[in-house]
C-alpha cells in the first residue's frame, strides 16, 4: 500500500463540522500610509522619487534572475495595497522575474488602489490568480540577533512606495 493510500485510509469521516464561512465584522478604519511606516517602508511623491532615485531601473521582462542581482534600485507596480498592514500585492506579471523584489538592493513600488483589510484583499484575489504572487510589507528585516531589529536581511534593504492617484 502506498503512503498515499496509507495516509488517506486513516482518515475516516469524523463528526461533521461546518465551515464558518466568510469572516464578518472586520475593522476597516486603517491608514495605509501609517501602516507603511510601521513596517519600515518610506512614502514619497512621484516628484520626490525622481529626485531620490534618478538612476532606477523600471520593470523590464528581459532581465533574467541573476542579472537582477546587480540592480541597485528596481521600480515595479503593485496591484493594490492593504491599509491594515501596509502590504502590497505583487504578481509575477508585474516583475521581470519572481526574484526581482528580493534580489535588488532597493525596491520602489507604485500603487494606486488601496483596500482596507486582508478580507477585502482576498475579495480582490478571487479572479483567476497569477502563477506566483505575494504580499510584500516593507523592506526585508530580522530580529534574530538578540531581538535587535535590523532592516535589510536577505531581501531588499529598503522599500519606497509611491501612492499614485
Amino acid at each position: 500500500m502506498s503512503a498515499r493510500e496509507q495516509i488517506l485510509g486513516k482518515m475516516e469521516a469524523l463528526e461533521p463540522v461546518n465551515h464558518p464561512g466568510n469572516f464578518k465584522g472586520a475593522s476597516v478604519d486603517f491608514d495605509f500610509q501609517a501602516s507603511l511606516e510601521v513596517v519600515g517602508a518610506r512614502v514619497l511623491t512621484a516628484e520626490e522619487l525622481e529626485i531620490q532615485f534618478p538612476g532606477r531601473r523600471r520593470y523590464d521582462k528581459t532581465m533574467d534572475g541573476l542579472s537582477l542581482a546587480e540592480v541597485e534600485v528596481l521600480e515595479i507596480d503593485g496591484e493594490f495595497g492593504v491599509a491594515e498592514n501596509g502590504a502590497i500585492w505583487l504578481t509575477e506579471e508585474a516583475m521581470p522575474h519572481r526574484v526581482a523584489p528580493f534580489i535588488c538592493q532597493h525596491l520602489v513600488i507604485n500603487v494606486s488602489k488601496i483596500v482596507p483589510n486582508m478580507h477585502a484583499a482576498y475579495e480582490e484575489l478571487k479572479k483567476p490568480s497569477s502563477s506566483f504572487g505575494l504580499f510584500l510589507a516593507g523592506p526585508s528585516k530580522t530580529a534574530d540577533i538578540e531581538q535587535s531589529l535590523v532592516i535589510g536581511a536577505h531581501g531588499a534593504r529598503s522599500l519606497t512606495v509611491v501612492i499614485r492617484a
Binding site: G65, S131, L134, G155, A156
Partner: protein, 447 residues
C-alpha cells in the same frame, strides 16, 4: 539524554542569564498583546480560525485529495510520506536526480522533526540553513531553541564570536547590524549558486492547489526563485480550504508570533516558474494518529506561531534546549509524546498547567488540557517520572484508608522534619509548611 527537569536545572543555575531569557521572551509576548488589542475583532478572529481548522480536520482526507488534484494540474509534483524516513528518502531522491551537493533551506520545523539535514549530510549533501537565526545555530552545531526565533537563547556577543569563527568578522564585534550584513553577503553567494531550494509551507490551499510561505528575511524566496528545483515540505495538517480563509490566518499569524502586522513576505506559490521543477512532500509521521484521538486532535490546528512559548513561564525560564527535541514549549510538549512516547514522557510534566498557552493560541488549541490528558496517558503507560508515580500511589493509598491517614497525619505532626528530605520531591526548592499541633479532627472532637 537529560530530562526537562535535569536540563532546566542546569539552565537556571545561571540566574542572571535566566532572567534575561525570561524578560526577552516576555517582551515578545507583550508585542503580541499590543498588536492583538488594536483589533476589536481579535477574539472573533480566533474563534473563526479555530472553526476553519476544526472543519478542515473533520474533512482532511477530501481536502488533501482536492489539493493534490489542483496542485498537479498546475504542474506541481505531489509526494506522500508516511513517516520521517520516507520523507527524507523522497527529498534525497529528488536532489540526487538533480545532482546538487550543496543546497539552501529556509525555515521548516518539519525538516527538523525529520532530521533532514543530518540524513542528507550522511549522503554527502550539505544543507545551508538560510534563516539568520538557523544559520547561527547551524554554525554552532546547536538545535534551534524556538520555532520562530531560533537563536533567542544567544546574546549578541555569542553571535559575534560565532561569526568571527565562521565568517571572519572582527573579533569582539557584536553589532547586530554589522553581523546581519556579514550574513547577508555570505548567504547571498549561496542563493545565487544553489540549484535546489527546500522550503517549508505555512499554509496550503485546497481550493487552488497553491501554498504560502511567510518570511521576514526573504530567504525562502531568494532560494526558491533562483533554484532549478524547489522542494516544499509540509505536514498534512497545514491544509486550509479556501483562499479567502488566508485572510483570517494571515491576520493572526504574525501578530501572534512577533507582534508584527504581517510578515514582510507572504509568498503564494501557485505554479512552478517556467523551466522550474516544483515538488511538495506531504508528511504524516503520526499526525493521523493524533487526528484519530479526540483528546489530541486539536493539536493539529497549530500554525506554528510560538505565542505559547513566549507566554509559558516554564519555557521562559528553562529555554528551548531543555525540551530535547525540535519543537519546544507547550505545543511541543503535546506533539512530541505522540512521536516518541518514551523519549518525551517528561515534557507534559514540565508545566504548571497555568493555561496561559491556551489563552494566547490564535487557533484556540486547548494546550493546557492536552498536557493534562498526556499526563494521564503516560501514567497509565507506566512512563511517568518514577518519583511522582510512587509518591502518587502512596498518597492515594493513604487517603483511601482513614486509619492510616490519621496515624500518618499524627506522625507527621510529631516528627514534621521527616518530610524535609531529598526523598520528598516536593521538598526540593520549597519549604514544607509548619505542622499544626492538632489535626482538624482532634480539634473538632475537643471543641
Amino acid at each position: 539524554m537529560s530530562s526537562h527537569a535535569e536540563a532546566s536545572e542546569k539552565f537556571i543555575a545561571d540566574a542572571e542569564r535566566t532572567d534575561w531569557h525570561d524578560e526577552t521572551l516576555w517582551f515578545v509576548r507583550e508585542k503580541r498583546d499590543k498588536a492583538s488589542k488594536v483589533l476589536p475583532e481579535w477574539e472573533a478572529l480566533r474563534e473563526h480560525a479555530s472553526q476553519i481548522k476544526d472543519h478542515t480536520l473533520a474533512n482532511l482526507g477530501s481536502y488533501l485529495q482536492a489539493f493534490e488534484a489542483k496542485a498537479q494540474a498546475n504542474g506541481i509534483h505531489v509526494h506522500w510520506a508516511a513517516d520521517a524516513a520516507e520523507h527524507n528518502a523522497i527529498v534525497h531522491q529528488i536532489i540526487a536526480k538533480e545532482g546538487s551537493k550543496v543546497l539552501v533551506k529556509s525555515k521548516s520545523m518539519l525538516t527538523e522533526e525529520c532530521h533532514l539535514n543530518d540524513y542528507l549530510a550522511n549522503k554527502g549533501i550539505e544543507v545551508i540553513d538560510t534563516d539568520l537565526g538557523e544559520r547561527i545555530v547551524q554554525f554552532r552545531n546547536e538545535a534551534p531553541s524556538h520555532i520562530v526565533l531560533p537563536a533567542i537563547h544567544l546574546k549578541r556577543e555569542d553571535v559575534g564570536e560565532t561569526f568571527h569563527q565562521h565568517l571572519g568578522t572582527p573579533k569582539g564585534n557584536k553589532d547586530p547590524q554589522f553581523l546581519t550584513e556579514a550574513a547577508r553577503q555570505h548567504l547571498r553567494g549561496h542563493f545565487l549558486a544553489s540549484e535546489v531550494a527546500i522550503t517549508g509551507v505555512n499554509f496550503a490551499i485546497a481550493e487552488t492547489g497553491e501554498f504560502v510561505v511567510c518570511t521576514n528575511e526573504g530567504n525562502a524566496d531568494m532560494g526558491a526563485h533562483l533554484a532549478k528545483v524547489h522542494i516544499a515540505c509540509m505536514g498534512i495538517e497545514k491544509i486550509i480550504p479556501k483562499r479567502e480563509d488566508l485572510a483570517v490566518f494571515l491576520r493572526l499569524l504574525a501578530r501572534s508570533a512577533t507582534g508584527q502586522l504581517i510578515t514582510t513576505y507572504s509568498s503564494h506559490f501557485h505554479k512552478p516558474r517556467e523551466g522550474q521543477e516544483m515538488h511538495i512532500v506531504l508528511l504524516d509521521n503520526g499526525r493521523t494518529r493524533q487526528l484519530a484521538d479526540p483528546k489530541y486532535k486539536n493539536s493539529l490546528k497549530c500554525i506554528r506561531c510560538a505565542a505559547c512559548f513566549n507566554t509559558c513561564p516554564v519555557y521562559r525560564r528553562s529555554g528551548g534546549h531543555s525540551y530535547h527535541q525540535p519543537v519546544a514549549g507547550p505545543i511541543g510538549s503535546i506533539l512530541a509524546p505522540n512521536i516518541d512516547k518514551k523519549a518525551n514522557a517528561d515534557l507534559p510534566f514540565a508545566s504548571t498547567l497555568c493555561g496561559s498557552c491556551s489563552n494566547v493560541c490564535p487557533v484556540k488549541i486547548n494546550i493546557h488540557e492536552q498536557l493534562w490528558f498526556w499526563r494521564q496517558d503516560l501514567m497509565a503507560a507506566g512512563l511517568a517520572p518514577v518519583g511522582k508515580t510512587i509518591g502518587m500511589k502512596l498518597m492515594a493509598f493513604t487517603l483511601a484508608h482513614p486509619a492510616i491517614y490519621r496515624i500518618g497525619g499524627s506522625l507527621l505532626r510529631r516528627f514534621s522534619g521527616m518530610l524535609n528530605t531529598r526523598l520528598n520531591p516536593w521538598y526540593k526548592q520549597r519549604e514544607m509548611p509548619v505542622a499544626p499541633k492538632k489535626s482538624f479532627q482532634e480539634w473538632y472532637k475537643k471543641r
